[in-house]
Symmetry: C2
Subunit: 136 residues, 2 copies
DNA sequence: ATCCTACGATGGACAGAGTCCAAGTCAAGA
DNA sequence: TCTTGACTTGGACTCTGTCCATCGTAGGAT
């Protein structure tokens, strides 16, 4: 079944029903749920799961590198399980929908040394904003 | 004196002591303050200025296009008065410092049509993350 | 210079997102 | 099956931001 569950088990993540449900909710492509959305979906299967547990599990998945946090709008963070293939995000300014996209080129290469100001740069995050087909 | 103040006056922005102080605090280069930081600095000069007023003024400056909102970390938004020259941001993952940078190339051009999924894209925001010289 | 009034400021209540903690529960190894 | 350290719970708390009724004032009118 789920690759994510497999990997977590292999890495010795203590499996509880709560963690399983959170991981299952996040599994898949083009998933960009907020913590509250994850909680709501998890609660459909496990009604008494608490918000704190969801936050804990999400935080651990992020630490493990299995999920990426995405702040698209300065409001709730979204959690993106597609952490293993580098990609960027396309965000609808109206409805907030998020899509994974794969631009050509490497944005890191576009930052010349004299623009790095002594920073040790580790990543470049690109967010494309516009209106999605349903919102035009 | 301040270009920003000049422009605001010309555009008929009703000038109050509070608004003046907020605009003065924001004036300058490489300024990326949070609303609370703006409030703290404004309060040094005008002790009774309220948080609501700062938020109102910031919101209006953003609507007027004189200031850009930047969410670098999913926490407090930062306000960037350098709204007239397009630029991107370099953020220290440790201390949160933000620098304006000017990458070469146009990130919008790096998103091929088949990666636009019917969106009408209006901008591309690039955030470079890494460690600043003081945090390495 | 003074008056008017619509627009702006105030602060306190409220809301949304997230963190923390003490106490209870349970996964998984012995 | 037992044990125990790790996990979960829910409520209190923090931080960021918004809302609103009331009060104050900038700046045009006189």
């Amino acid at each position: 079944m789920s690759d994510l569950l497999e990997r977590l088990r292999e890495r010795g993540w203590r499996m509880t029903s709560q963690r399983r449900v959170v991981a299952e909710v996040l599994d898949g492509d083009h998933v960009h749920l907020t913590a509250d959305e994850v909680h709501a979906r998890a609660a459909q299967r496990l009604p008494e799961i608490s918000r704190a547990t969801v936050y804990n599990a999400l935080g651990e998945l992020v630490s493990l590198g299995e999920v990426k946090e995405v702040s698209t709008d300065g409001r709730a963070k979204r959690y993106d399980p597609n952490a293993h293939r580098p990609h960027q995000h396309l965000v609808c300014s109206a409805c907030g929908t998020v899509r994974d996209v794969h631009p050509t080129g490497n944005p890191l290469a576009d930052l010349p040394p004299d623009q790095r100001f002594g920073f040790t740069i580790s990543e470049a995050e690109v967010t494309y904003r516009g209106l999605c087909p349903s919102c035009v």
